[in-house]
Amino acid sequence: MNEDRTGAPHEPGSQWYDGEAGPLVRPYAMTGGRTRSGPAGVRFDLIALVTLDAGAPGMDDDTALGPEHRVLVDLCRTETQSVAELGAGADLPVGVVRVLLGDLLERGCVTVSRPVPPAQLPDERILREVIEGLRAL
């Protein structure tokens, strides 16, 4: 992600951070200050899978969507992506990706898979498939 120090304030009394504080990031500038996604405020799991909706309306004339939204959509165009991969691919913190994904979900541009419910493992058949898949690697 960008380490934005260029806009650092220099007025007296405003130097509330220094070099020791590490990179100063303003990630939520890209989300219009929102830190939660959508009205439902759902928190997408890191491995929730994001798929482009084939019947999605075009985004071209949607002025509410910014360049970062489009980056996410482009990443999904090649293949289904997990939330974590989108974060790495778009060079955005996961928290920001979640908010942007909420926008895309609301507009019907993408679908997001639900995570496996806690304490509920996939069935034995899947686990056996995983073991065999690992052996075959």
């Binding site: 504080a21 990179p23 990031v25 491995i47 289904t80 928290g95 898979s113 639900r114 498939e129 898949g133």
Partner: protein, 201 residues
């Protein structure tokens, strides 16, 4: 979330992603293990501390460098189209515990990497997964020059619950890493079955 949407997604693609955590002390080889088995170069994802870190107020003893994000390395193994395994290296420092809670949500299980020269480094991870009943295996990363201990020695030293597998491994080696993951998935399956039987009985 719009539940109709997610249902539709599940029905159409039935894509399933599973999550395995790789935990252990700082510098024990978590990212090395992830990299050895991942089909992609380990990626880095950043979580914002300001977002999830309400519980983190104690930065005593932490390196002077306090950043506003914490990075997690992760890798992927595609089992087949629509079924993939994601491996997440958990952030090493204890002050990032809150992230573990999110990471372990819905996780299939965990690998606790251990170094016999400083076994105590993996105590917190062992405690964490034991308390939450998350299936885990202890993988002893056999560093060059470290004295070899048997799995039983390690199991006793860590006071593991009976049945928790201990595997000797070389985190740099793909086959060795695969073996660790296979042991974990087998064990997670057994734990799950046992729990089901418990709930019936």
């Amino acid at each position: 979330m719009d539940s109709e949407h997610s249902d539709a997604a599940g029905g159409e693609t039935t894509a399933l992603a599973l999550k395995i955590l790789v935990a252990g002390g700082f510098g024990v080889g978590k990212t090395t293990l992830v990299g050895a088995v991942s089909e992609i170069k380990p990626l880095r994802t950043e979580e914002l501390l300001s977002e999830a870190g309400q519980l983190v107020d104690d930065t005593d003893g932490v390196d002077q460098k306090v950043t506003t994000t914490v990075a997690m390395d992760f890798g992927r193994i595609t089992i087949r189209s629509g079924l993939s395994l994601y491996l997440f290296g958990t952030p090493g420092q204890d002050r990032f515990w809150f992230l573990w809670d999110e990471l372990s949500q819905g996780a299939l299980g965990a690998v606790v990497l251990a170094d016999t020269r400083r076994l105590e480094d993996c105590f917190p991870a062992v405690d964490y997964f034991e308390h939450r009943h998350i299936p885990f295996v202890v993988a002893v990363n056999c560093f060059m020059g470290s004295r070899r201990y048997g799995p039983q020695d390690v199991s006793r030293a860590l006071d593991l619950d009976r049945g928790t597998p201990v595997v000797l491994c070389d985190a740099r080696d793909r086959d060795s890493g695969k073996e660790v993951l296979i042991r974990l998935v087998e064990y997670a399956g057994r734990m799950h079955t046992a729990r089901l039987l418990d709930s019936v009985g």
